[in-house]
């Protein structure tokens, strides 16, 4: 599914798409948060890109670790530690491996999600990125059990994340800044769920190329 070069390409593609969606994500955050999610993500993946372009990395795990560290040390806010932890955890799962398969990716996403949930003390249904990531993980696991081909499995995960984003629009936030709004948060998609969906989609598309 993905070797070191593919992982590198994935991060570059994420960096591109996040830059492109910067204002969109920021607008989503402006509605129910403080209007910086796109700026934060662009800063973090900009820093990740710089780090990858200026260093040399031996394994997928090394790359993911560098990304996680960049996110933690350059972003701040909620997204920095959450996504940073997610990438660090994913990195650990495939430590030493040259090639990532679908089972690996599933394990990575599981560990990433665990990291987000424990760092953010969040569970599904609180209108956060968890609402995109957890359905995606569930879909992946099911696909893996069914022996679905990687491309199709990833597509199902992306679809599940997309539905998760849509679901966040219908619920009240109970974690993060949006929780301060109470019922006024209903009717808006969660920006972090949206960025998670965008990232998963980019991973799927890049890996299927």
């Amino acid at each position: 599914m993905a070797n070191k070069d593919k992982v590198f390409d994935v991060i570059m593609a994420i960096s591109d798409i996040i830059e492109e969606k910067k204002l969109y994500l920021t607008q989503l955050d402006a509605a129910i948060g403080d209007g910086d999610h796109g700026l934060n993500m662009a800063k973090g993946f900009g820093a990740a890109r710089e780090k990858l372009e200026s260093g040399s990395f031996q394994t997928p795990s090394d790359i993911l670790k560098a990304v996680g560290m960049a996110l933690i040390s350059k972003v701040g806010g909620a997204a920095g530690p959450l996504y940073g932890t997610a990438f660090l955890n994913a990195s650990k799962v495939v430590a030493g491996k040259e090639e990532i398969g679908l089972a690996d990716f599933t394990a990575m996403l599981e560990s990433a999600l665990d990291g987000v949930k424990s760092r953010g003390k969040a569970v599904r249904g609180e209108k956060t990125m968890v609402d995109a990531l957890e359905p995606a993980l569930d879909a992946l696991k099911a696909a893996l059990d069914e022996g679905t081909a990687p491309e199709e499995a990833l597509n199902r995960a992306v679809k599940a994340a997309e539905e998760g984003v849509a679901f966040t629009k219908t619920i009240r936030a109970t974690k993060g800044r949006a929780s301060y709004l109470g019922d006024r948060s209903i009717g808006h998609e969660d920006p972090g769920a949206m960025s998670s969906y965008v990232i998963l989609k980019t991973i799927a598309e890049t890996c299927s190329r």
Binding site: A30, D34, D36, L39, S73, G77, A78, R177, Y180, L181
Partner: protein, 331 residues
Amino acid sequence: MKKVINNPNNVVDELLQGMVLAHPDHIRRLEGFEVLVRKNSPIEGKVALVSGGGSGHEPSHGGFVGTGMLDGAVAGAVFTSPTPDQVYEAVKAVAGPKGVLLIVKNYTGDIMNFEMAKEMAEADDIKVDYVVVNDDVAVENSTWTTGRRGIAGTVLVHKITGAKAETGAELPEVKRVAEKVIANVRSMGLALTPCIVPAAGKPNFTLAENEMEVGMGIHGEPGTHREALKTADEMVDHLVGKILEDLDYTGGEVVVLVNGLASTPLMELYIVNKRVHEILASKGIKVYKSLVGEFMTSLEMAGFSVTLLKLDEELKELFDAPADTPAFKSL
């Protein structure tokens, strides 16, 4: 966007440079970091206090670094909590054997980043503990939310905890005082105009010419509701009413803090203060001291918050202790 800046992406760095140039007797910057510490840090024989958060709230927090208040302040990007490694550097620079207390405002991002910094510092065998300020009664204190936001009341935590640390008390004692302040401080604010994060270039939200946002956060987060502009007295009645509903101040003595968000002139803040005093007098609540000015701002937002801190003898004495920082001096 009418701002006196050079480059939206460089405002925090230039701010910190400008602060150090203005206050070389009080503060210095940690080379290569967005961190201000007391000029002579680490100070011997005391617990060091470190606070911080997103920038755009000046003079918070760098303006409160100095004798009797903070030892270090970490400046994140505008309205974005600082990263763990910045906080970690601040902790390392100010830590002595008595350890470090982090004063964190209750935002998911701030808590996660400061917690990670604490983990990093503990790996270096530095004693670190933290308190979380959550004074904003606009947010319902339900177990179903992240809890209340930390806003202007944080400055009173800096002041009083800073005075305690200055006595040479041990970390648990200093933390106890911080938590006592937090337990007794409540705030609420409202905004008349939005503000513009420099890198975003446009306001988070808009308000009609006759509208205000009640319960507004200090990052432009929406408040409890919008309504038509009212008189100053009606605004204050609502905010103080909410505060008094939340905590029983009956028969007590308080510090009043009337905090300007930025564009609201001092003239108006004093008009607010007058009404706060009138309400408290009518309820038999005695005002021990008042602070009126800009302590926890929100870029160029117009609006204000009111904070009431309920005092006991210990807090009174610590409140009155001397302080000498760029933005808060008390003789």
